[in-house]
Amino acid sequence: MDALLIDKHVKYIQSLGENTDDLMYHLTAHLRLNAIYWGLTALFIMGHPEALVKEDVIAFVMSCWDDDEGAFGAHPGHDAHVLPTLSSIQILVMYDEVERADKERLVSYLAARQNPSGSFSGDRWGETDTRFSYITLQALELLGRLDAIDKEKAVAHIRRCKNYDGGFGATEGAESHSGQVFVCTAALTILDRLDEIDQPNLAWWLAERQLPNGGLNGRPEKLEDVCYSFWVLSALSILHKLKWIDSDALIRFILSAQDPDGGGIADRPGDMVDVFHTVFGLCGLSLLGHPDVREINPIYCLPAEIAKKRGLHMNYQVLGKDEA
């Protein structure tokens, strides 16, 4: 399979909201806002943002507002958490409707997630993870309020999660993982502190994620998976080292994980597709300069044109663009 099946992927994403008599649809309610963000981002970079009805999407986002806490939950009636809160803000930003949200309450909810050590919790129950540092920082930057937290402490916490291999873990002492490498690299970019990264070492570790079949894994001696196309590539793109892997082999791997009948992209060839692997496969193709996909900004995982219009950080590499 060497063609990117844009039309099928657009139809696949459109069909996701139609499965409401499927049990699986309801068992994933806790991911609904994330899923809409993933689908919408995929549609934007495929050039079909109109494939979802804007007013319906925004109405759903607003119905997930948790008025007790002042942030978004994953589904109507679910509790506020930074994960769906970032997805909501990203969706509103993509539609240029961020003014619809109660910015003041959002900023105070997000700022309250920072702990005295500089780490961030996902909600008031206190789980900490470097994912939440990134999520909160991005959300605050999109709201134009990075000043609401202690940036020095945020950097210090990420520094404590750095390992000798150049990678980052979820918490202090945790093993390096490409997902955490992405969030920490992007968070340090947002904080203008890329100097904290041991760049040659980290880029080497990331390049070693590529396996003989072209796919990327998340940690040493693990299997390949399409979603790592984004976690690994986004960090390599921020470090301007995308050429340190074999892009043709990775493009072939991502394309081979498409479902040629129903559309969508899976974790591996022959597996069930889902919107998560679809968007991250497309984002990987975008960074590798695939001509049929528009540019993604890997720092925020938002369409580049939108990030540019809002004056966000734009320093990253895309293959085939402004490259010698």
Binding site: E127, R268, M272
Partner: protein, 331 residues
């Protein structure tokens, strides 16, 4: 997010039949969800509501808001009527409930979180008991046991490793750092490619040395570690886990005699495995460390650069996926 589920092409008829069969299950699930969310909105902190959360979380442990509600019921509805002993017993049954859920869903963050919360809420007691007999110690001991079963089922599960570090940090009296070295060694010997265990081992040593070890002690320990990691390198020179650990032991090459000794040992392995990518890659890295660590004159530097460039050229051939990196390093 689905991982490792094979794609099955379902015809419209098959889908319709499956949905028909699932319909009653689906309706029951939706009814239960609505009921529990309505109780949550009404702040109903009763035993009945608690039991319904058990039922719902059994069907779907990803419902983080329902775990939150369950904790609110415990705090506001159930704990206030219980003695410390009663709270301890209830938290034990809470842990049993999540153990069952973890067996089916070992990677669901919310289940691990709920365990952490339970442990943090164990009351002090029983009255007058020494630390070794305290409820907290009993609970943490059991947690460590369960965590080890989880790591037997999947030796790379990072949730279980993170939880393990959390257990050891929460009750430092439970295990000595030496015990943890024994454990990581056991895991590594079961599989040299278990990088999670090598990683943990590097963290334990770091903690041990921070407690205060002489340079001489550190050096002795490192020597035995170099011997240990050699076994792994010889068993499978293509496994990156052991090479990464070797790099950690070398660090920035501060110990020049050790750096030189290890370079010689890898050159020996290379003579047996002339096409070993990791031997060549590591030698290039260590030889570059050598130039920054020792005082070399112009001719020595030129010779070393030539030598590493020959290796980098060879790497371009045997590891073409990373060809450009080797090219750049040679410039």
């Amino acid at each position: 997010m689905s991982h490792g589920v094979k794609r099955a092409r379902e015809s419209a008829d098959v889908v319709a039949a499956r949905r028909e069969k699932e319909r009653s299950k689906l309706n029951a699930y939706l009814e239960l969800t609505d009921d529990v969310l309505a109780r949550k909105r009404a702040s109903a902190f009763t035993q009945e509501s608690f039991d319904l959360t058990t039922k719902l979380l059994g069907l779907n442990p990803e419902l983080y808001s329902i775990w939150n509600y369950r904790r609110l019921i415990l705090l506001n509805g159930l704990f206030p009527n219980l003695s410390p002993e009663g709270i301890f017993t209830l938290l034990q049954s809470e842990l049993n409930f999540t153990t069952g859920a973890l067996k089916v869903h070992p990677k669901v963050y919310w289940i691990w979180n709920h365990r952490r919360w339970c442990l943090a809420n164990v009351p002090p007691g029983p009255d007058g008991a020494p630390v070794e007999k305290s409820w907290k110690r009993q609970m943490w001991t059991r947690e460590l046991f369960i965590d080890e079963r989880m790591l037997e089922a999947d030796a790379r599960n990072f949730h279980a490793w993170n939880y393990r570090r959390n257990i050891l940090a929460s009750d430092p009296g439970l295990r000595t750092l030496q015990d943890e070295l024994t454990y990581t060694k056991k895991k590594i010997e079961a599989s040299f490619s278990n990088f999670s265990a090598w990683h943990q081992r590097s963290k334990v040593y770091t903690a041990l040395w921070e407690e205060g070890s002489s340079a001489e002690d550190v050096r002795k320990v490192k020597d035995t570690e170099f011997e240990f990691v050699q076994q792994a390198l010889y068993t499978d020179p293509g496994d990156q886990s052991a090479w990464l650990y070797h790099r950690w032991l070398i660090g920035n090459g501060e110990d020049l005699p050790v750096l030189k000794r290890e370079i010689a040992a890898i050159e020996e392995l290379l003579s047996v495995e002339p096409d070993s990518k990791w031997c060549l890659e590591t030698l290039v890295h260590y030889k570059r460390l050598l130039t920054s660590r020792s005082h070399m004159d112009e001719t020595e530097l030129a010779a070393l650069k030539k030598e590493t460039n020959v290796m980098l050229e060879k790497l371009q051939g045997i590891d073409p996926k990373r060809r450009i990196r080797y090219q750049e390093l040679g410039m």
